[in-house]
Structures are given as structure tokens and as C-alpha cells.
């Protein structure tokens, strides 16, 4: 069983989507399970995945979210790598195309180029071209001259309409600015005068213009920005006729670009392969995820592109007991009693009491949590920081009911059981714990792990090949070490529950 394969044990997220535990997060402040769907995603940092350079967001925007040094192949979208060639300073034909760094130090070492004059100076210069190691495309294929420096000097592919785009952009930017100014002016006029002597309370200099206006002078600092005029685009019905040879010339498909090649070069969308141009590599992001309800971060990666660490990591597997399916005792048959072995692991530093229930526990505790939530969202600190930041609005979640997909009848456990705390040093202990009085369903217990036997009966009307899904509520005690309120209190204990579905396998024939 590879861990890349989908897990048979799924947890219902608080938004109602089933996920394996490794895709879930646990908000300690709510405290609830969250998945990638019900959190807000934010850009933490921009970086180039090829050269691993961290690029600040303003610079990234300036560079149109592209890396300055790395290029993608226009043919196959793989990364281009620079190749060095030694070119004699005396310019001659580019014979040294086939291999990188063909040492042509002297004329005698390259008998394949008879045109070299033996009298020419043996000095060579390193020239670079870009080559795709996936499809063997090179910049020489489209006639881009070799560069003396490996990176940075490659010319941009200026599209035909670049100037037009720039003027349009300028125009609309000034238009936005103008509208903003007008709005401000309107607000200023509308605002009532607060006192008779504004100059006494003035600290900002804004009232200077007010006084000027009272005297009857014109505002001096408000030079209205006039948008530059643009020539409006004109539609024309005249379309060039098709060239006459389009019907007579046989099409050479090798010289025509594919759709994806054209789309990767959206400015000019070339039709022929000799118009392809190296594309700047687009940047990648690191995301931080934030709980939409309490606006606390769930994960926050470290800034550096090569770092794999997190500054905040609230993975569900650190807080919620993990359920691992070991095996079913017998082949699954409809209507026949069976038992499944489940391994529970406690990832926290506190003992947990777990009970498996068939129906949802009462909502009393949930109510308490909700009140706490309100307290969090209305805290002054969050108001101060949260409002100014641009982010997706916090939404009250709409609870989706998980469809009842379980199709087996469980025999409930007689009693709750205790899952002892995680202790990393226990891993090295050899001695077996003295068997204490255990409930009958517990097969073995080792450190923070418990293997238990859960009896169930698949529904009688299941057909061969159908999946048997077990569903239950796992109620567990969770000790929360973060306190939402200002005064430091002892850790609070919650009784949380999450719904778990296990695909135990399919009915045998």
C-alpha cells in the first residue's frame, strides 16, 4: 500500500466534505476541522521554481509575475537551459551548432571547418544560447543571436500592439485617478464644518485649501489630472482576402504551431514555428491558509523558497486522533457479521478519552464554542489588523449535511476507552506494559496507540462488488492549550467529535 494512494479512512470536515486526515487542518481557536475548500488561501511569497529566487510581491507585479532569468521552451513548455559555445572572435559561420562547448581553440583541431583561416587569432569567446533538453528546441532555430552573458540579456519579444496597450493602460490608470479625486472632493464638500476656527485645530494642512476657498481663491494644490487622449479603436468590415496559395500549397504541419504553443504566447499567437520565442517563466507562490471563521492562520510557510518548514502548522494529524484501518477479519459478505481492526493514535501530549457513537452528540458544547468564536472575532486586535488587510470576507459557514453513505450496521463499543499521551521516548522502550484491565474490544495497546476490534454487519441488500462503508462519530476529549481570552487560564478541555467513514472493502463474490 503506497501512501500516495487514497486512504480508506475519511473524516468529514466541518464544511461537510470528506477528506483523508492528511488533507485536513485543525483550527485550535474554533476548534474545528478545516479542509482546503473552506479556508481562505493567501499568497505568502512569490518565487521562481527553477532558480529558487524569492521575489517580493511588488517586484513580481512589476515583472508581470515572471522570472527575469528563467525561460520556458515555447515548444514544449519545459525550462530552457543555457548552453555555452566557444566562438572564435573572428566571425564565421556557425558551424559549432551540434554540441555545447566544442573547443575550437585552433584551426587544426577542427578539420570540419575548412573556411577558418589559419592566420586568424586563436582567441575564442564564450557565447550562450538557450536550449530545451526535452524537445531539443534552441534559440538558434528561430534565429535569435547568441548572447555574451548567460542570463539577463535576452531581448523581450515586443508584440506589435505593445505601444497601443501601453497607451490604453495609461489612459485607464489616469481615469481611475481622476475618479478617485472627484470622489474625495465630493466627500470633502459634503462633510459638515465642525467648528468655526478650523485653522486652530488643523494639523494636516488640509484646511489650507478650505480657507483659500473661503477667501475666494482657487485651490492651488489640486491640479486636476486630465486623462491623455486616446484614439478610439475602429471596427472595420474590411478583411484581407485569403492568400491565393492557401488552396494550392500543401500544408507542412511541422511548421505550424499547436494551439497550446499559441496560447503560451498570447500577445502575438504565432502561426509558424519560426516565430516562437522563449517565454519568461511564470512565478510560483507559497500559500498560507487562514480559517475563515476566526481569521487565524492554519498554516503559514516560511518565507524562503528552499525552506520546507512552517511558522504555523495546524495539521489535523497533530490534534485529532488518527484512525488507521488495518484489516477486516473475514471476507465481506452481505448480512454476515464481521469485524474490523482499527488503529487509533493519539498525537497530542494529553490523554484522550474516545468513544464511538452512532449519532451525533448533543449540541450543548457546540454552543459554548460558538460564544467563544464571537469573542474572538470581535477582539480589538483582530479588528485593527484584519480590516485593513485585503482578504476574502469571513463567512459564516453553512453547514452541509454529510450524506449518509454508511451501509453497514455497527455493534457499538461497550465503553469509552482512554488513549494515552504521545511520548516520543516510549519508542525506544522495550518493556511491554503490564496488561491492565482492558475492555474486551482492545486487541493491544502500545504507548499512544490502540488497536481495537469493531464488529459490524454489512447490509443484507448489498451486491457483489459494492463498497462497504462504515460510518460513526468519534467523540474525543481535546485539551486546548491556547486561550482566546486575555487572562491566562488553565488549558480547557473540550469534548469534540468528528464523523469518520471507512471504506472497508468491497463485497466478495
Amino acid at each position: 500500500m503506497s501512501f500516495m494512494q487514497p486512504s480508506p479512512v475519511k473524516y468529514a470536515c466541518s464544511c461537510g466534505i470528506l477528506n483523508p486526515i492528511n488533507k485536513l487542518f485543525f483550527c485550535r481557536h474554533c476548534p474545528k476541522l478545516r479542509c482546503g475548500f473552506c479556508v481562505s488561501h493567501e499568497i505568502e511569497s512569490n518565487f521562481c521554481s527553477n532558480c529558487l529566487e524569492n521575489i517580493p510581491s511588488t517586484e513580481a507585479r512589476h515583472k508581470k509575475n515572471c522570472c527575469a532569468n528563467c525561460f520556458d521552451c515555447p515548444c514544449c513548455h519545459h525550462t530552457l537551459s543555457p548552453r555555452a559555445t566557444a566562438v572564435p572572435v573572428v566571425r564565421k559561420s556557425e558551424e559549432s551548432k551540434d554540441k555545447d562547448k566544442e573547443g575550437e581553440s585552433g584551426a587544426d583541431s577542427s578539420p570540419a571547418t575548412p573556411s577558418t583561416k589559419p592566420s586568424a587569432l586563436p582567441t575564442t569567446k564564450k557565447m550562450y544560447y538557450l536550449s530545451c533538453l526535452s524537445c531539443r528546441w534552441t534559440t538558434r532555430d528561430v534565429g535569435i543571436p547568441d548572447q555574451g552573458v548567460a542570463t539577463g540579456t535576452w531581448p523581450d519579444n515586443e508584440s506589435l500592439y505593445q505601444a497601443r496597450f501601453n497607451t490604453l493602460m495609461e489612459y485607464y490608470q489616469s481615469l481611475v485617478l481622476q475618479e478617485k479625486q472627484e470622489k474625495q472632493e465630493f466627500q470633502r464638500r459634503k462633510a459638515p464644518k465642525h467648528n468655526k476656527y478650523p485653522s486652530l485645530t488643523d494639523r494636516t494642512g488640509l484646511t489650507v485649501s478650505l480657507i483659500r476657498r473661503q477667501i475666494g481663491w482657487s485651490d492651488k494644490n489640486l491640479s486636476k489630472t486630465k486623462p491623455v487622449n486616446i484614439t478610439p479603436a475602429e471596427a472595420s468590415a474590411e478583411v484581407d482576402d485569403l492568400p491565393a496559395d492557401i488552396f494550392t500549397q500543401p500544408i507542412n504541419l511541422r511548421s505550424i504551431t499547436t494551439i497550446s504553443q499559441r496560447h503560451s504566447q498570447p500577445a502575438d499567437q504565432p502561426e509558424a514555428v519560426n516565430k516562437l520565442y522563449p517565454q519568461r517563466r511564470s512565478l510560483w507562490i507559497k500559500r498560507s491558509l487562514r480559517c475563515r471563521q476566526c481569521e487565524h492562520n492554519l498554516i503559514k510557510p516560511e518565507y524562503h523558497p528552499t525552506s520546507i518548514k512552517y511558522r504555523i502548522q495546524l495539521f489535523a494529524s497533530y490534534h485529532v486522533p488518527e484512525v488507521v484501518m488495518v484489516r477486516c477479519e473475514q471476507p465481506l459478505q452481505p448480512g454476515q457479521a464481521n469485524a474490523i481492526l482499527l488503529k487509533f493514535t493519539n498525537p497530542t501530549m494529553f490523554d484522550m478519552t474516545i468513544s464511538l457513537l452512532e449519532t451525533a452528540p448533543q449540541e450543548v458544547l457546540q454552543q459554548a464554542c460558538r460564544i467563544k468564536e464571537e469573542a474572538v472575532t470581535s477582539s480589538p486586535l483582530l479588528k485593527a489588523t484584519g480590516v485593513t488587510l485585503s482578504r476574502q470576507n469571513s463567512t459564516r459557514e453553512i453547514k452541509r449535511e454529510v450524506l449518509d453513505v454508511a451501509n453497514a450496521k455497527l455493534v457499538p463499543l461497550e465503553s469509552p476507552f482512554v488513549l494515552s499521551q504521545r511520548d516520543d521516548s516510549k519508542e525506544f522502550d522495550e518493556d511491554v506494559q503490564a496488561p491492565s484491565e482492558e475492555p474486551k474490544f482492545i486487541v493491544w495497546r502500545k504507548a499512544n496507540k490502540v488497536l481495537l476490534r469493531l464488529q459490524f454487519t454489512p447490509d443484507a441488500e448489498l451486491k457483489p462488488g459494492q463498497l462497504v462503508t462504515l460510518g460513526f462519530y468519534m467523540q474525543y476529549t481535546y485539551v486546548n492549550t491556547v486561550s482566546n481570552t486575555q487572562d491566562k487560564k488553565d488549558p480547557t478541555t473540550h469534548a469534540l467529535h468528528s464523523r469518520i467513514f471507512i471504506e472497508s472493502g468491497s463485497i466478495g463474490n
Binding site: M1, F3, M4, Q5, S7, P8, V9, N22, K23, F25, C35, G36, H41, E44, F47, S49, N50, C51, L52, C76, H77, H78, T79, S81, A86, K99, D100, K101, E102, G103, C132, L133, S134, W284, I285, K286, R287, S288, L289, I299, P301, P305, T306, S307, I308, Y310, Q313, F315, S317, V324, M325, V326, R327, K343
Partner: protein, 189 residues
């Protein structure tokens, strides 16, 4: 899902003092150049070309059946040169994979029949899908997934391609793989 026990016969595998389990049915060329840092499993049919350059593998690596570990080479004006290859900790290399990367970081998963071209660099916590083919000199950065289609997806914090807790997942997986890779119990009992 719990990993099922994999059994091996006592005659087939050699266990070293540091816990490496190496099959006898492997081709380890230039074994003095191969360093396995402990608790590494090398399964039957694997080929490690230590004769070309040094190969170092960190702790808890799994080199599956029929995979080929071959140090990368670079072409120069005067012939070619081979470069040493470093593999980090907790790396899983799937069955039939051909790897000639320059460096492989820690917590990397390489799927079945993947082909890693020469001088690729795989950073920590990346995933190579089953059957993916990496052209030479490809860089796969952390938390990226190289798909069988040849695209790179993911990024740190993106929960859909590489699990956010990739480090813990790989540690758990390789450790439990090692623990469940056990000798066949003696038939006498």
C-alpha cells in the same frame, strides 16, 4: 491503510550493523563508493552504479525492486565526467525507476517507473508521479509534484497536490515500511 508486512528470506537479504537491508540479488557496482547511512532497504533487482561516482543515501531510504541509481554525467569539451549523487533521508524510490539526478533532497517520493534525467535536482518534499519522465537538468522545487503529463503542480501550502505535512508523511511511511519489512519467521515454530 496500514502497510502490510513484507517478508524476506534470511538467505536473500544481508543486514548490516547500521540496519541496512540489502538484497543479494542486486548489482552494486563499485560498492566501496556506495554509502548507505543506515536503515536503508535495497530490494532485489536494484542496480546502484557506484563505479561511476560516489552514491550516498541518507537514513530510511527505500530503493525498490528493479530500480537503477546511476550518477549523472556532464559533457565537456574533453570527454565526460561523472558527478557524485546525494540522496537525502526518508526517500522512497519506486519500482523500476531510473534515477540519475544530481541531488535528491529529503522526504522525496519517486513513483514507479519514473525516469529522472541526468543532473536533475529534486528539492526536499517533492513528489514524482508514477511513470513521469524528467528531462535532463530539470529542477523540481519543494512541495511540487511532477506529473506523468510532464507538468509541475503544487507549491507549499497548496493542499491538493503534495500534502502539507509531506515531511511527517514521508517519515511515517519510510519508518513503517522499514518496520514492516521483516524476515520470514522460521517454519519450525
Amino acid at each position: 491503510m496500514e502497510i502490510a508486512d513484507t517478508y524476506y528470506s534470511k538467505d536473500e537479504y544481508v543486514e548490516t550493523a547500521s540496519g541496512n537491508k540489502v538484497s543479494r540479488h542486486t548489482v552494486l557496482c563499485g560498492s566501496q563508493n556506495i554509502v548507505l547511512n543506515g536503515k536503508v532497504i535495497v530490494q532485489s533487482g536494484a542496480i546502484i552504479r557506484g563505479d561511476l561516482a560516489n552514491v550516498r543515501a541518507g537514513r530510511y531510504c527505500v530503493i525498490s525492486k528493479n530500480s537503477v541509481i546511476r550518477p549523472p554525467y556532464k559533457q565537456f569539451s574533453k570527454g565526460i565526467a561523472f558527478f557524485p549523487m546525494h540522496i537525502g533521508d526518508h526517500v522512497f524510490i519506486g519500482e523500476g525507476a531510473v534515477v540519475s539526478a544530481a541531488t535528491i533532497g529529503s522526504f522525496v517520493y519517486i513513483g514507479k517507473n519514473a525516469i529522472i534525467g541526468r543532473r536533475c535536482t529534486l528539492k526536499d518534499c517533492c513528489v514524482i508521479e508514477d511513470g513521469a519522465v524528467l528531462p535532463p537538468e530539470t529542477n523540481v522545487s519543494s512541495y511540487m509534484r511532477y506529473t506523468a503529463k510532464g507538468t509541475i503542480e503544487g507549491g507549499q501550502g497548496n493542499p491538493y497536490f503534495v500534502p502539507a505535512a509531506m515531511q511527517d508523511e514521508m517519515v511515517n511511511y519510510t519508518k513503517s515500511f522499514y518496520e514492516h519489512f521483516v524476515r520470514t519467521p522460521a517454519p519450525a515454530s
